[in-house]
């Protein structure tokens, strides 16, 4: 009951104020026409009660304006700064990490390079040694072969000499034999030139 009485009293004071403010409020807030019509009823729906619109607008402007200023001048630069700082820090750490990774990669690459160098050097040493040995062997063989060829040629010449000498001797032996045979058979003397011609003719056959 107390609440009802208080409410009634308050609503009368509000209505009084409305009556007083009506022209001014009407001029300022034309968009609240619906609420103006509604407020003539006693049980006006509180959110549509236009008597407090001016006060609401003023205090909203003050509080929200202040809030906006605080946000744009203090809070947003601050949070933005924190985030930027963190972002920079992370970027810096990532840079450092990538730099270290680069160094490690370079070390690995130089190690690989050294290894490859050593390997090629080893290969080249082995190759030279092999080449040397091979060329020496070839040279030795060539020398031996040349020596052998020389010896073979010498032997062949000697054989040819002996052969030709032997063949020459064969003619003389045949003549002697033929002379002796002819002497034995016919007892007559045959001239040396005749025998030689006969041997040559038979040898030619």
């Amino acid at each position: 009951m107390f609440v009802t009485a208080a409410y009634a009293q308050q609503s009368t004071t509000t209505e009084g104020a409305e009556a007083h403010d009506a022209p001014a409020a009407g001029e300022v807030h034309t968009e609240t026409g619906v609420a103006h019509e509604a407020e003539h009823g006693s049980g006006v729906f509180p959110p549509f009660d236009s008597s407090h619109f001016a006060s609401q607008l003023l205090w909203l402007a003050i509080t929200f304006g202040l809030f906006y200023l605080l946000m744009s001048k203090v809070i947003i630069p601050r949070i933005g700064g924190i985030l930027a700082k963190r972002h920079d820090r992370i970027a810096q750490d990532l840079d450092e990490a990538s730099r270290l990774k680069g160094e490690a990669d370079a070390a690995i690459a130089s190690y690989e390079q050294e290894l490859a160098n050593a390997r090629t050097k080893g290969h080249s040493i082995a190759d030279t040694a092999r080449e040397e040995a091979k060329s020496k062997a070839t040279a030795d063989r060539a020398a031996v072969e040349a020596d052998l060829t020389k010896k073979i040629t010498a032997a062949e010449t000697r054989i040819a000499d002996i052969k030709s000498k032997a063949l020459a001797d064969v003619g003389a032996i045949a003549e002697e034999t033929a002379t002796a045979v002819v002497k034995q058979l016919i007892g007559g003397n045959v001239t040396k030139t005749e025998i030689a011609a006969a041997v040559k003719a038979s040898a030619g056959n």
Partner: protein
């Protein structure tokens, strides 16, 4: 009278102020505007005072809300829209805090007043119009002429575009206002059932369990709505600002 579900939306004078015959009294609505601003600004200020590279839990809440709005605005209005970041951030934090403060029993919900939400919506649309004309001159009017519309249909389409643009401050403000108002009335009605039913003795108390469960569930829903409506308001603000930054891009 205390069971009247609309009683919670009454504006009462605390310090009567009258300037030039207009009532500018400091009311309970004004008090809760101050409370909203103090709570939001105080939270953001105190949690970030350490400026830690590794954030505390509370600091990461502030950072999260900053990045949430920043990514929302960047997606909605592009990098050119980032100059409106303080505006969208302030709107979001103000509405969210006002909605959440309104969830406390006996607290006044600032955003349940149509004039407040309407003023915020007019602020948004006014910014769009002023910045649009300032930046693009009459080129801002391309906003009302979509690409690839045949000439015969153009007058009709432009009319529809103009009407939809003009209805933005209304839809933006009524959406927030109506959600807060309806939610609080429903909560009050169901909570009122609990009180009035339990006045009927043991049977009444047994019967009051159902509306009690309903009240608990609705309270959870209202917290969701409190966040969701602040989010929706901020998203739509970003979309409207996109029109000011890039008119004729849709």
């Amino acid at each position: 009278m205390s069971n009247d579900p609309t009683h919670q939306f009454l504006v009462n004078k605390i310090v009567p102020i009258e300037i030039g015959g207009i009532d500018f009294s400091f009311t309970n609505a004004s008090l809760f505007m101050v409370a909203t601003v103090s709570a939001a600004a105080g939270f953001l200020y105190l949690t970030t005072s350490q400026r830690g590279v590794i954030p505390t839990r509370m600091q990461s809440v502030s950072e999260l809300s900053y990045e949430f709005i920043a990514s929302m605005l960047r997606e909605g209005a592009g990098s050119h829209g980032m100059k409106f970041f303080p505006m969208v951030f302030s709107l979001f934090m103000f509405i969210l805090t006002a909605n959440l403060l309104g969830m406390f029993p006996y607290f006044f919900t600032v955003t349940s007043q149509i004039i407040v939400t309407f003023a915020l919506a007019v602020f948004v649309v006014g910014t769009v119009i002023l910045y649009g004309f300032y930046k693009h001159g009459l080129g801002f009017l391309k906003l009302f002429v979509p690409h690839g519309v045949p000439g015969a249909l153009l007058p009709l389409v432009v009319t529809i575009e103009v009407i939809s643009f003009l209805s933005r401050p209304i839809s933006l403000s009524v959406r927030l206002f109506a959600n807060m108002l309806a939610g609080h009335i429903t909560l009050k009605v169901f909570a009122g059932f609990v009180a009035s039913l339990s006045a009927f003795g043991a049977l009444g108390i047994g019967g009051a369990i159902l509306p009690l469960i309903m009240t608990v569930a609705l309270t959870g829903l209202e917290f969701l709505v409190a966040f969701l409506q602040a989010y929706v308001f901020a998203v739509l603000t970003c979309m409207y600002l996109n029109d000011a930054v890039h008119p004729g891009s849709h």
